[in-house]
Symmetry: C2
Subunit: 390 residues, 2 copies
């Protein structure tokens, strides 16, 4: 049957991270590999009464077909939160998706012809790369530093690379580097996107998980020409298993996303949308996020301290101001993919950085997740990795 596959299907291959995560899901392993939030903070106790209340008050309507756009009260609440974050938004500007991953897939579907180019940060989120690649595009990596994309590198690509459709960025606590773009860089990105007429996909799964410093204005808040597609999610602030994210964009663009959603799966889960809505209704969501922040900040600090204590001095890393990941650079010559086998044998897992470079060029980096393991395991795992790196 393979001869009947579409050309694009040939681009859809198993991601390395998927195989790694399988490898690392074995019992007892200390995993810094996945991007899993801490399950002990999922509000599952509240959900017990909430799901009952939803069914009591709405009856079977909570289980019937729903509009493609999503449950309106939830869209209103999302719009209100976004407005409070400096992005004037109404419910009509919001489409509920199955996590922000679905928004990424839709962006690929809406913008990418085969051989079109996506400009992305170097490195960038593997799941986005895979979602876009399914539409037959290629990637051109833009240099990054501690402040975000390097604008000279971006403008050079915009000038010289043909068929660029959009620029994909994660400006807050980027996956995998944990870095956050400065306001200046964001302004410059907007100016360049306007000048060269490109769409921006602003992926913001971690923005609300800030452990220090002040929030920086989103690209969407600076968008005067309707060229930013903003992707949000409750996977990191509520729970991932209910698969609720959203897309906000100008009416022209959002309308296309809605139509794509209709063909893709009609709508997001009716029941889960109502449960999340009632949770937001009954709880102080910002206070809930503060609880997450307290735990994750502690875990970040413990990981940083452990790295300082146990990693050799020739290893460098960035201390992220938020999010879930810490990015480590080991001396050139060490291939972290080769090292992983040994690490797993010793009971510790991470994601080799190479997976996050579409070019596959950089081999001496690793991404460490600090949200999912408890404090003791973080120290233990870093100790083991430190010995291995010696």
């Amino acid at each position: 049957m393979e001869t009947l596959f579409s050309d694009r299907a040939k681009n859809i291959v198993a991601s390395e991270i998927r195989e790694i995560l399988k490898l690392t899901s074995k019992e007892g392993i200390i995993s810094f590999a996945g991007g899993l939030p801490a399950p002990e903070l999922f509000p599952y106790q509240q959900l017990k009464s909430i799901s009952r209340e939803v069914l009591d008050s709405m009856g079977p309507a909570a289980l019937q077909y729903n509009t493609t756009e999503g449950y309106e009260p939830l869209r209103e609440k999302i719009a209100e939160r976004m407005t409070n974050q400096g992005m004037k938004t109404s419910a009509d500007d919001v489409l509920i998706t199955n996590g922000s991953q679905q928004g990424l897939d839709f962006a690929g579907k809406i913008f990418l012809n085969p051989n079109d180019i996506v400009l992305c940060e170097s490195p960038s989120y593997l799941g986005a790369i895979n979602a876009f690649r399914a539409y037959g595009c290629d990637f051109v990596e833009v240099d990054t530093d501690e402040d975000g994309m390097v604008m000279a590198s971006l403008e050079e690509k915009l000038k010289t690379v043909e068929n660029v459709k959009f620029i994909y960025v994660i400006p807050n606590f980027q996956n995998p580097t944990g870095r956050t773009w400065t306001l200046e860089r964001r302004k410059e990105l907007m100016a360049l996107a306007n000048k060269y007429n490109k769409v921006i996909i602003e992926d913001n799964p971690y923005g609300e998980l800030r452990y220090e410093g002040e929030a920086v204005a989103s690209l969407r808040s600076m968008d005067t020409e309707g060229r930013v597609v903003y992707l949000g999610t409750f996977s990191k602030t509520f729970c991932p298993g209910l698969r609720i994210g959203w897309v906000t964009a100008s009416p022209t663009l959002l309308n296309k996303f809605i139509l794509v959603k209709q063909g893709a799966d009609l709508q997001t889960n009716s029941m889960s949308q109502r449960e999340l809505d009632l949770f937001l209704e009954q709880n102080d969501f910002d206070a809930h996020i503060q609880t997450l922040i307290a735990l994750y900040k502690k875990r970040r600090d413990i990981m940083v301290d452990a790295i300082e204590s146990y990693f050799p001095k020739h290893v460098s890393y960035g201390k992220p101001h938020g999010g879930l990941f810490l990015w480590v650079t080991v001396p050139e010559g060490i291939d972290t993919k080769v090292l992983l086998d040994k690490a797993v044998d010793l009971g510790v897992a991470y994601v080799p950085g190479v997976s996050f470079f579409p070019s596959g060029m950089t081999k001496n980096t690793m991404r460490l997740n600090f949200s999912n393991m408890n404090e003791e395991k973080i120290v233990e795992g870093i100790k083991i990795l430190g010995k291995l790196l010696e």
Copy 2:
């Protein structure tokens, strides 16, 4: 921004049915338009305790990321049901999707290049047509009669039409016609698919809702070469709002579906999969389906009787042996799309048949849903339509 859209995005336009359903959702209208199951039979009372039990027994794990393939106990139960229906299936052969609509979208993604051809029944399910069309394909309609596709017509297309990738069929209680393929036709279809090396997409959302006669063997059960992709769903037998369907196919094909699912939205809702699994665990699902059958059979009979009593004699229709739809043919010269405006003014809605013909050629048909309105409204609505058709 429209200039930046992909070529395929230009094919993604609002479906007529979507606009019709909006029109017909106004308060008090008697709607035969949607394909909505009867909400009064959704097991929402049981779900109250089930969601609590899931959270009690599994805790936050029910809200965490899950594997892309889906929750294994649920996949096992689906495999067991399929095996009982004559399709030998194991859990590894099953991928959980967001309803079968997502399976349709994935089939398009996996098989269709721009300008490839889909062979489909004439008429066929609008949602599938829209899902496939998003990948830039074209459609060639194959003639149908009361027994399914007309095989001479199919073979002629297979001989003469280039770039056919798959044949899309709904063999049981087809949407929109309500017709069921005979065993003979199914065997012939398989033989032709083997001879001409085409994939078959077998969409079976209504197969378990049979009100009379014996079940006919599925195409998947006759598949000796791994060319049938079978799509199932719980939307019509449990509820649509939890968005749970599945794909079964040969390992080579299913593996591609799994990879596509990963890029598209990572996984289906963790919580809902566990709720459905526990419902299947605790209840006799076949008995539950019998309850649905009893109600829908009654509604079908009432609609048929009302049509006999109130429709003019020059109107013809087919009495379906199952499913949710009844297909009506009015005299040529009556455009049911034009008629719909008047019908809605009088408080009744249906879907004009033209929407189900990719060619848009046939104007004198309509699809009537009998599952969603109560018995009294069915009679009242048919009476009004009958007057209008006089």
